[in-house]
């Protein structure tokens, strides 16, 4: 089992550009959540996808959007990049039917905006 995988590992973009980050959930998982972790801080929830729909959203602007595909993989898109978007973006996958519930995290994508 490969666990949660994310691509790319690192990314450097220029202010104003757009970026797409990808996440493949752990085998058997149906839910994907995205988090932003600024340097030296705890992760902040961006949104969660289940059954190809955004089920819950955190306090992030509309520049942040996402998608979940039929195979449960997910993309995070950020438009009009700002310097403040530089962070580690974490994807977490889970299975709604699990008891007790657990979110498994991927290694993250380090985004640098210059």
């Amino acid at each position: 089992d490969a666990g949660v995988t994310q691509s790319p590992t690192h990314l450097i973009k220029t202010r104003g550009q757009q970026v797409t980050l990808r996440c493949s959930p752990k085998s058997g998982h149906d839910t994907v959540s995205w988090y932003q972790q600024a340097l030296g801080q705890g992760p902040q929830f961006i949104f969660q996808y289940y059954e190809e729909e955004e089920r819950q959203r955190g306090n992030f602007p509309d520049r942040f959007s996402g998608h979940q595909f039929p195979n449960y993989s997910s993309e995070l898109n950020v438009n009009a990049l700002l310097l403040g978007d530089s962070a580690l973006y974490l994807c977490a996958s889970s299975y709604q039917g699990n008891t007790p519930y657990e979110q498994y995290f991927g290694p993250g994508t380090r985004l640098t905006v210059t």
């Binding site: 705890g42 992760p43 519930y101 979110q103 498994y104 995290f105 991927g106």
Partner: protein
């Protein structure tokens, strides 16, 4: 809304000793879970221990245990017999709907283990 506060930015412990990391939280939810996650320098977040809020008994996982004080909204992590591999950032988190929804994280505590 949920908030999680970790007031210890850094902690240090000698190898084989015991250390306690503090966490306080606030939530209006009734069916919430609390978690401690470990993030080693390689970045991948790993679940250390989970506590269901409806359970009075404190969770334990080998050398890791929690002190869950529901009325005080306190959730501390005790690491016994500390090992060099325990060195990492530790995040306290809360999750509503038994953890199925968004996790709210604290700012983290960096734990150093001295040989």
């Amino acid at each position: 809304a949920q908030t999680v506060t970790q007031s210890q930015p850094e902690m240090s412990v000698q190898e084989a000793e015991t250390v306690t990391l503090s966490c306080t939280y606030d939530t209006s939810e009734s069916d919430y879970y609390l978690f401690w996650y470990k993030q080693p320098p390689s970045r991948q977040m790993i679940l250390v221990i989970r506590q269901e809020a409806y359970k009075q008994q404190n969770a334990t996982e080998n050398r890791f245990s929690v002190n869950f004080q529901k009325a005080a909204k306190s959730f501390s992590l005790k690491i016994s017999d500390s090992q060099l591999g325990d060195a990492a950032m530790y995040f306290c988190a809360s999750g509503s709907d038994m953890g199925r929804r968004a996790l709210t994280f604290g700012s983290g505590t960096r734990l150093q283990v001295q040989p």
